[in-house]
Amino acid sequence: MRHAMKGSLMRDWNTQARNRQARLARAAALAKGKVVAAADAGALLETVLEPGDRVCLEGNNQKQADFLARVLAELDPEKIHDLHMVQSVLALPEHIDVFERGIASRLDFSFSGPQAGRLAKLVSANQIGIGAIHTYLELFGRYFVDLTPRVSLVCAQAADRAGNLYTGPNTEDTPIIVEATAFKSGVVIAQVNEIVDALPRVDIPGDWVDFVIQSPKPHYIEPLFTRDPAQISEIQVLMAMMAIKGIYAEYEVDSLNHGIGFDTAAIELILPTFAESLGLKGKICRHWALNPHPALIPAIEAGFVESVHSFGSELGMENYIRARSDIFFTGPDGSMRSNRAMCQAAGHYACDMFIGSTLQIDLAGNSSTATLGRIAGFGGAPNMGSDARGRRHASPAWLKAGREARQGRNLIPRGQKLVVQMVETFREHMQPAFVERLDAWELAESAHMDLPPVMIYGEDVSHILTEEGIANLLLCRTDEEREQAIRGVAGYTPVGLGRDKRMVENLRDRGVIRRPEDLGIDKRHATRDLLAARSVKDLVRASGGLYDPPKRFRNW
């Protein structure tokens, strides 16, 4: 006891703060106040960083601290090595280069999209040690528990000389990263597009930021959520009709999140036409946790939508958002403030429904986007697409789903989230969406993962929607019923052809499986004419000219 006492008395309780001061002192000569010239960015990082540091490099699924990523990747590995990267998205080649060049060696992340192939190669060559692949909220949570960054490299639209940051519409991950770093004696370095005297608004207070660097070019933003209505097929229109009539209307889905695919864009685009004709305006789809999808413009203009909170922004939507501040979350300056962590929490706890697409679904309803040779990770879908066990507030949709899941069982009443997987039975090149065994198993084996990477677990899935019908898994009482319900909407895939026809017909009689005709939908009405906008130009028209799409989406 005396020893322990003595030890705790002798312990230095402020090593992190002093280490921070030492780093800042080393770097002081490079900075004018907080401002560092772009040419000195490499020197700054080499001075501030220490081998073995845990570093958060801001890479979201849209906004990228691309200049700092490049500078980091060009550091001398003799001096800076064994970094432990913690970041939500690996999107740029530089995100992988830092491992190839030996600057970093460990990685905890959430999503790797475009770099998934290179990442898999480096993992098999043992050049990256992956701690874990997370969902967004999970990774953000760990920033405050056991993965707190020592140094964070973030990006913002603008800074003033005091280090205050304006992140603009694409605020995304910046607040959560800076908060975790700044309040645990870390160092925050921001790349900004411009340094100005007065910011439109302050998104990050200056005393949480240590250095700002004006990047030679504005940071890269990917227009990830723009779907050209011209590419929506009549099959997708049919599925969208089924979704609205068979799920949205039946459950009175009022708060929701949509995936980013064409299937859900089709739903957004037939709200003002098909859903309106069913008298659903004001009854469904009023509140959204969603990026500002251009495809949502016609529904907003038609008066369907009351609020939208966003993870990030979308290029070209700035003026539209500014002019629709009743709908979007905007600052006093008029521009949007997004926040990935907040929106993820909102989507998880405060939404009745998640609906999105996937690549593969197995016989238990587990779904995965994993393919062999690519470690793509998860992103936010699992947070959206899982029942919120901590939810306590009621809504018609939540209660009805809960009732259906508990019918005939002696359980205390509680609600449940609707989690809908919407897929065509075959993807491009005749790849079946339904499989006996997910490719995720093989990927797990080849990449030595603890678990197969499942995007949404079958136990969380409430409905599977295909062009053949809707399977309501809430109503299934046995594993066998569940399997047949899935086979019963799997169309002409081998899984679908393997159905027990009698049992499927029986499930259909019970309303577990419902075909378009059971929903009173005439397939012949499923044409592109139902889309409130059939081209990007129609979206511009619907926005009254406020939407300014990126060049690659124009044909005028």
Binding site: S233, E234, I235, E424, T425, F426, E428, H429, M430, E467, E468, G491, Y492, L497, K523, R524
Partner: protein, 105 residues
């Protein structure tokens, strides 16, 4: 490419004055369906030229269901396919029959 042929029996002959109909386009993920009256001793003959090899069983299943929906006799259906999914195939077949029989759209 692969050539597949199917024949179905037991349908009802269509009005011989039905004009041939063509729907769809031979483009990626799509197909064209040509449907026309033909003296086939009561058969409905379907001939497919497809760019996607090895899906004979899938075609069989799609066409079984198609014939269950539309019991045609003395009809020839010719298809040029560029890897359309069964959903698109079924849709085009239904559209072709509708045009062929002069149904209202």
């Amino acid at each position: 490419m692969e050539k597949l042929t199917f024949e179905f029996f037991g349908g009802a002959p269509v009005n011989a004055t039905c004009a041939p109909a063509l729907v769809g386009v031979v483009g990626s993920g799509n197909l064209e369906v040509l449907i026309e009256p033909a003296a086939l001793d009561g058969a409905c003959a379907i001939e497919i030229l497809t760019a996607a090899r090895g899906f004979g069983e899938t075609w069989r299943a799609v066409l079984d269901d198609f014939f269950a929906r539309h019991k045609l006799a003395d009809v020839r259906i010719s298809i040029n396919d560029v890897g359309a999914t069964p959903a698109v195939v079924a849709l085009r077949l239904d559209q072709a029959v509708e045009d062929f029989l002069g149904g209202e759209k």
